[in-house]
Amino acid sequence: MIRETLYTMKSLHRDDFKIEGFRFGSGEKTMAIVGSMRGDEIQQLYICSQMVAQLKELESQGDLDPNKSILIIPSCNPYSMNVSKRFWAMDNTDINRMFPGYDQGETTQRIAAAIFKQLEGYQYGAQMASSYIPGSYVPHVRMLKTGYENIEAAKMFGFPYISVSTPAPFDTALLNYNWQVWGTSAFSIYAGQTNNIDKKNALLTQQCFIRFLKRIGVIRKPVKNVGYDSLLLDEDNLVRISAKKAGLFTAQYGAGDYVDEGATIAIITDPNDGSVLEEVKATTSGYIFFAYNKPLVFQHSLIFTII
C-alpha cells in the first residue's frame, strides 16, 4: 500500500487542504473507490477507511493481485468535514456538482478536476454517495441512465438492490455521470446513513466491495460470502409516499422493513397539542426502500418509497 497526497491547496489561515489516497497494486487501473465528497458523509468515510484497513491486511498476506491497481480516496473534502459543513465552507458549492472540473476555474472546479484526473481511466469506479433528501436507504448500487450504465457489472457487488434513474440536468455535473461518459463503469453506493456510522450497513457494504473485488480478480483467496441476486429497480417505478400534513414525524418502520398495504408506517402529530394529524399508511405491500428520518416534516415532503 502506498499512501499518497493526491492534491494540496494553500489556505489563508488554515493548515493546507489535502486529499489523500491509498494505492494497492500497480499496472492495470482496475478500481477506484471514492468516499466522502461532502462534509457530512461520515458513513462514507468510515466504510472507505475500513476498506483501506481490510485491503492492507489482504495485501500483507499476498492475497491481492499486484498487477491490478486499486485507488481508495476516503475523503475528498476534509476541510468541510472539519467544520461540519456539507458543502465547501467558503462559498457553499458542492464538489460533486463540478465534474469533470476545470483546472483553471473556481476553487471547487479545480478540486473536482484534480480528483477526476486521479480517477480517469479506471475500469470500475465506486463513489460512496448521499442524497439531498434526509433519510436512510436500503443499501444499494445506483446508476444514472446515461446509456453507458453497466448493470451486469453492478450485479457483481451482490447488493440487495440495483437502482437506475433518469438524470436531471444538474446531475450532468456529478462524478458518477462523468465517470460513465468517460468510459469507467461507475456506481454510486448508498450505504444506509449519511451523518452517522451505521456499522451493520457498513459491514454489508464492505462485504459487497470484497465480493466485487474477488469477482474482478483483484482478491486471490476464496471469499466466503455469497451476496444477493440483486433486484433491478427503476426509481421512476418506486411507490412514493409524501406527507399530507406537516408536524412532528415518528416513523413506525424504517428502510429495509416489509410492510403490508394499509399498515400505519408513520404518525405525524401536532407539535403543540400532540393530536394526531396524519396516520401515514402504506399504499402498497413491499419493502421500504427509503425512509425519511428527521423529526420535523414539511407538508408534501417525500417520506417513504416502497419497492
Binding site: K10, L12, F87, R97, E106, T107, P169, A246, L248, H300
Partner: protein
C-alpha cells in the same frame, strides 16, 4: 390585488407562502411579470419590486394591461439569510420546472412555473451573491439570442452577456420558461445581501421602458436608456486567484481597464507580504469584481469583456 399562489404547511404553526401582487388597468391584454428572490441572499429585486409596484399604483391610469409582481420566490431563504431553499440543501434555481409530485420545493417550483407560463414577458431579477459585485446586466442563453436581445436592450442595463448553453442551466426558471415559449430575461446586478439604490433606480426605469415599448405603460420616459455592451462569443476573460489570501482592490464595476493595469493584489496578513498582483490581461470592460475579500486558489476575482480593435474607440457600445 395580492394573490397567494402557494400555501403549504411548515412543521410548526406556519404556512410557506408565495404571493404576488396583480396590478391591472385598461383594456390591454398583455401580462408582464417581475419576479425575484429565488436566491435568499439576493436583495436588489426587493427595491425594484417595491418601486415598480409603488409607481404603478400611484399612476394606475397609465397602465394598460397587467403587471404581476412576485417579490419572493424563496421567502424562507430571504428571511433566514440563506441563498438556497432552507432544509433542502438545494439551489432553487436548479430544480425548475419542478415536479408536481416531488418534494415541497419541487412542487413550489412547478407551481411557480405554471403560474408564469403564458406571460408576455418575465423579468427575473437576481443580485450577485455575497462574493461578487456585478454591473447591471442581462444574461441570455445563446439559444434565445435573436428573440431576447432586443428586449434586453430596453432594460437600461450596461451589459448584455449572451452566454453558451450549459446543460446544468436547463434547470433554471429562465430556461424552463424560454424553452416553452414564455420570454424571460435574467437580470443580474449589485452584490448579495445589499441594495444599491442607484442601480435599482436605473433598472426600475428600464422596467418601465420595456413596459412602454410593449404597450403596457403610457407614461413618458424619464431619460433615454443606456446603450449596453452586447457580449457574444468567447470574449470574456475570467481572473481567478493564483493564491489563497486576502484580495484587496479599489476597482469598481462598469469601468474600462487597460491591458496590464493592476486590478488588485492578494496579500497575506500573517507574513505581511503580497502573494500576487492581479493584472488585467486585456483592454476591456470590467463587469464583475470580487466583493468578498477572502479567496482560495481559483476564486473568481474579476471578469472582463475583451475589446476588439473597433471597440477600442467605441468602448464596446454601438454609437
Amino acid at each position: 390585488m395580492i394573490k397567494t399562489i402557494i400555501s403549504s404547511e411548515l412543521p410548526i404553526g406556519e404556512q410557506f407562502l408565495v404571493r404576488k401582487n396583480v396590478l391591472s388597468n385598461g383594456n390591454g391584454g398583455k401580462r408582464i411579470c417581475v419576479v425575484t428572490g429565488t436566491h435568499g441572499d439576493e436583495l436588489e429585486g426587493q427595491m425594484v419590486c417595491y418601486e415598480v409596484s409603488r409607481i404603478i399604483q400611484e399612476n394606475i391610469e397609465l397602465l394598460d394591461g397587467t403587471v404581476e409582481i412576485y417579490p419572493a420566490l424563496n421567502p424562507l431563504g430571504i428571511d433566514s439569510l440563506q441563498r438556497g431553499f432552507p432544509n433542502f440543501d438545494l439551489d432553487m434555481n436548479r430544480i425548475f420546472p419542478g415536479n408536481p409530485k416531488g418534494t415541497m420545493v419541487e412542487q413550489a417550483a412547478y407551481r411557480i412555473t405554471e403560474d408564469l407560463k403564458g406571460a408576455d414577458m418575465v423579468i427575473d431579477i437576481h443580485s450577485s451573491n455575497l462574493y461578487l459585485r456585478e454591473c447591471p446586466q442581462v444574461r441570455i442563453n445563446v439559444m434565445h439570442e435573436d428573440w431576447l436581445v432586443p428586449y434586453a436592450k430596453m432594460l437600461n442595463v450596461d451589459f448584455i452577456w449572451v452566454h453558451d448553453a450549459a446543460t446544468v442551466l436547463e434547470a433554471t426558471l429562465a430556461y424552463s420558461l424560454n424553452s416553452t415559449g414564455t420570454p424571460c430575461l435574467v437580470v443580474e446586478l449589485g452584490v448579495g445581501q445589499r441594495i444599491n439604490d442607484r442601480m435599482c433606480a436605473n433598472l426600475t426605469n428600464g422596467v418601465f421602458n420595456l413596459l412602454r415599448n410593449m404597450g403596457v405603460w403610457k407614461g413618458v420616459e424619464d431619460a433615454l436608456p443606456s446603450k449596453p455592451i452586447v457580449c457574444k462569443g468567447d470574449k470574456v476573460d475570467f481572473l481567478n486567484a493564483a493564491n489563497s489570501g486576502v484580495f484587496l482592490t479599489e476597482q469598481k464595476t462598469g469601468t474600462v481597464v487597460e491591458k496590464g493595469q493592476k486590478i488588485g493584489a492578494i496579500v497575506d496578513p500573517l507574513s505581511g507580504t503580497v502573494l500576487s498582483e492581479v493584472i488585467s490581461p486585456c483592454l476591456g470592460y470590467l463587469f464583475t469584481i470580487r466583493a468578498y475579500p477572502i479567496v482560495y486558489e481559483g476564486s473568481l476575482m474579476a471578469r472582463i469583456y475583451k475589446f476588439d480593435e473597433k471597440e477600442k474607440s467605441t468602448g464596446g457600445r454601438d454609437l
